[in-house]
Symmetry: C2
Subunit: 338 residues, 2 copies
Amino acid sequence: MASINDVAKAAGVSKSTVSRIINDSPAISDETRQKVLKVMKELNYVPNSLARGLSNQQAFTVALLINIKDVKSFSNPFFYEVMHGIETVVYSRGLCMITANLENTLKQNEILNWLIYGKRTQGVILPSSIMNNQLVRELKKIRFPFVTIGEPEGIKEPIDWVDINNFQGGMQALEHMISQGYKRIAYIGGEQVKTFNKKRLSGYKAALENNGIEYKPEYVCEGAATKDEGYKLMKQLIKLPQPPDAVICGDNVLSIGAMKAINEAKLNIPKDIGILSFDNMPIADLVEPSLTTVDIDVFEMGVQAANILFKIIDNPEARQQQSMISTCIKMRESTCRE
Amino acid sequence: MASINDVAKAAGVSKSTVSRIINDSPAISDETRQKVLKVMKELNYVPNSLARGLSNQQAFTVALLINIKDVKSFSNPFFYEVMHGIETVVYSRGLCMITANLENTLKQNEILNWLIYGKRTQGVILPSSIMNNQLVRELKKIRFPFVTIGEPEGIKEPIDWVDINNFQGGMQALEHMISQGYKRIAYIGGEQVKTFNKKRLSGYKAALENNGIEYKPEYVCEGAATKDEGYKLMKQLIKLPQPPDAVICGDNVLSIGAMKAINEAKLNIPKDIGILSFDNMPIADLVEPSLTTVDIDVFEMGVQAANILFKIIDNPEARQQQSMISTCIKMRESTCRE
DNA sequence: TTATTTTATGCAACCAGTTTCATAAAATTG
DNA sequence: CAATTTTATGAAACTGGTTGCATAAAATAA
């Protein structure tokens, strides 16, 4: 395959001239430019990106690191959408994107070393779940651009991250229920060890207070994201002396279980009990009745993550930025009382 | 950041020596090796992968190209599983993986040029949907290693691909129904423009013949992968003078629609009508009754794609290989007659 | 017409590695 | 102990680009 030298020789110019043409330098006469471009086309010349990267001290590549555990625990197109959002921005900038799974074969440190110290990438987007103060210190020390997906916990220094506004989502969920005329609104949350679940519940509580509704601990429960758990918890709620007339579930799968319990109790959705779920997975449209959800725009989260990363790459002095993506209610049959 | 020269200087050796140590050359005394390794650690030295790639004439990188339209049309963790399988192999080999979406911003040719002629990658895994004879010819001409995910159509020369054995899946589906005692087994297939749907249907037909069952055209229909379509087609099947007592659906979403129609007709699943679906998505476990499926191992498909790619990279003369991944039945309640 | 500025291009060094070949030192052989 | 082989290392060329500096030619100014 043709190199810059072959092009230079064939066109009767020096390789500096060819290089200048590749890089759209203005100091080249039109005549020479046309001549060289013609030769480039003839020889099917494409600059070697490794050589370019070496000269330019930049790899024209960013990395997206993921944690397969996170991805699997979502079991929805969540991850792919984030990736797609990032990709859209990265490729439109003319860079490319390396993806790596941190749980794969190599140890975390090896991968980081390799991608970062090996100069293979100019920046990295990584999951908040792997962040810790030591890693932050290290990355900051070598001034390596990074953005986390999700707000990391327990990090002392300000860093760049993007996240879904889960607190807002929790508030919107409750307020939607109120607007549909529900009065006794229960909450079956996901595991509270996860930050996003905590945030969602806080949003729910805050909205209760804003609306002057008393917080009832017996209306709030927590479970793993399984159908069985949703079923079991919903059954308990129905058995209460004063059962709820609406329930917000932390997850589509929990909702499916809860719906089963409601159906078994011969109660009608949405008449007797309204139900709403976080996360807008394809399944929400498939169940009977279809499920009202809090939609999270993870594509947009990816776009913003990439944009922030490029901001840092372009200007290492840029102030850190935390970006929250708004949620919105996708109303379907399960909360439609009319 | 430290370069090979810094290490050489600090250790009082030449950079050739350092290079030999990086590459585990045996012609280095233990004494020198230890000394240099110590310096490397002290300086936190990691070889520059661009420079290595340039010298070695290999990028230590492969590309995974995807077609966002394909991915979206599956609307299941299908794609991510393939990617994860590929990634596992790639990283265990010490290479890294670039992902690019062919529908993104840049034109297809630009991306290919860039990744292939730009020497950025040593091989590429791509969707069969974008293959055509011209592209095959081009890649073969420059002897660039590639493997397609899915069997491509209309390609004249033998090439390497991996696919799910959809024909086998179709046979297994029918034979499972027979083994459960169902007699009149209908088939609601996905759109027949897609090869994998055609293969599945052929498998169904072949198994009919193998089992001496007459093929009834009125039992076979085709629809887009939507709930409404499944509902509509199932309703028609139920209205037949001699309705089927079992149905195989080409897709989980079609099945959901079909189940709705069966429920509305006050028929019992699996007693009156058995139902089975291709693709084992999370939803199969969530519906009532849970859905028997033909499971496809897309992770394994990714693993094999990567293995084949490396076989070609290691030995460009290797004979082309087509690899089919077996399907298997995941039995659940929807076909359980006992 | 000469002096000065501008424009276009080439030379050579550089990026950070790998590798061939030469060679000094050490080990083996006669 | 000298001759030969083996081993460990370095110098220099090479991978394919970019770029600062020098310079010849062209354009402008005096």
